[in-house]
């Protein structure tokens, strides 16, 4: 099993445990919606970098519906839900990739919206299809 497939499987497990959402790995870079959310969680420790999460508003809405029965969420709720998802990915994936003997400091998640055509290095992301939404996750190490 490749590292990428292993990571995709871990992401799918976390998403399922967190919000009962079923996801399937995608090979390569899928077509993305015109506008997309980016959640960034910077980390520092033996290595420094950021965990980046790409997804659409619909996945945030699914999280809120599944977890707290909120069916018509506003933008603030959706961003909050996506940031919490990013937080869960960051903490768990860093342990998954680097092991529990390394200690990392995580910054709180930051969010911004971007046009998907402006995204770079999409081939570095691990993409999954999540009940109609696209989710991309990348662990980026600074030089």
């Amino acid at each position: 099993m490749t590292d990428s497939k292993n990571l995709q499987r871990e992401i799918a497990n976390l998403l399922s445990q967190f919000a009962f959402i079923i996801s399937e790995p995608i090979e390569g870079s899928p077509s993305l919606p015109e506008g997309i959310n980016v959640i960034q969680i910077d980390f520092s420790g033996p290595r420094s970098g950021a965990v980046l999460v790409l997804t659409d508003n619909e996945l945030g809405q699914k999280l809120l519906s599944n977890l707290i029965d909120l069916d018509k969420a506003n933008d603030t709720d959706i961003v909050d839900a996506l940031c919490e998802l990013g937080n869960i990915f960051a903490g768990n994936l860093l342990t998954h990739v680097y092991g529990s003997r390394q200690t990392y400091a995580l910054k709180p998640p930051s969010w911004y919206a971007i046009k998907s055509k402006d995204l770079k290095n999409l081939e570095e992301f691990n993409f999954l299809e999540c009940e109609g939404s696209i989710l991309g996750v990348r662990i980026y190490e600074y030089d």
Binding site: N87, S100, R101
Partner: protein, 123 residues
């Protein structure tokens, strides 16, 4: 007896999920207070009686670890029951939290059943 609890997490979704899990537990819940970071939590504890704190680690302003360190310096909070609910996976940091007297560490994502078990265990 109903227990007062304090939920400390910068994510409102995380606090709502915790609140829901607690209400669904068999433990009688009294007042539920919420704080977005450790500093707000200490301010609430200055004014309210709380039986148990559910605490995230990675928060702005004051982290969960800083909160526990500050709380343990205060006589009235030295024995406060604290349960950490976090994505933290570092063995070193988890050992430090235990040393500071944290009763339980629940890894996010949380399963409501697990949370109920922990809550019922400590009361």
């Amino acid at each position: 007896m109903a227990y007062n609890v304090l939920l400390v997490d910068d994510s409102s979704l995380a606090r709502k999920v915790l609140r829901r899990a607690l209400i669904q537990s068999s433990v009688s819940i009294g007042q539920v207070y919420e704080a977005e970071n450790g500093k707000q939590a200490l301010e609430i504890l200055d004014n309210q009686w709380v039986d148990c704190v559910f605490l995230d680690i990675n928060m702005p302003v004051m982290t969960g670890i800083e909160f526990v360190e500050e709380a343990r310096k205060k006589d009235e909070l030295r024995d406060l029951k604290i349960i950490v609910v976090s994505t933290e996976g570092s063995e070193e940091r988890l050992a430090y939290l235990k040393k500071l007297g944290v009763l339980e560490i629940v890894r996010k994502p949380i399963a409501p059943e697990k949370l109920k078990t922990v809550f019922e265990k400590i009361f």
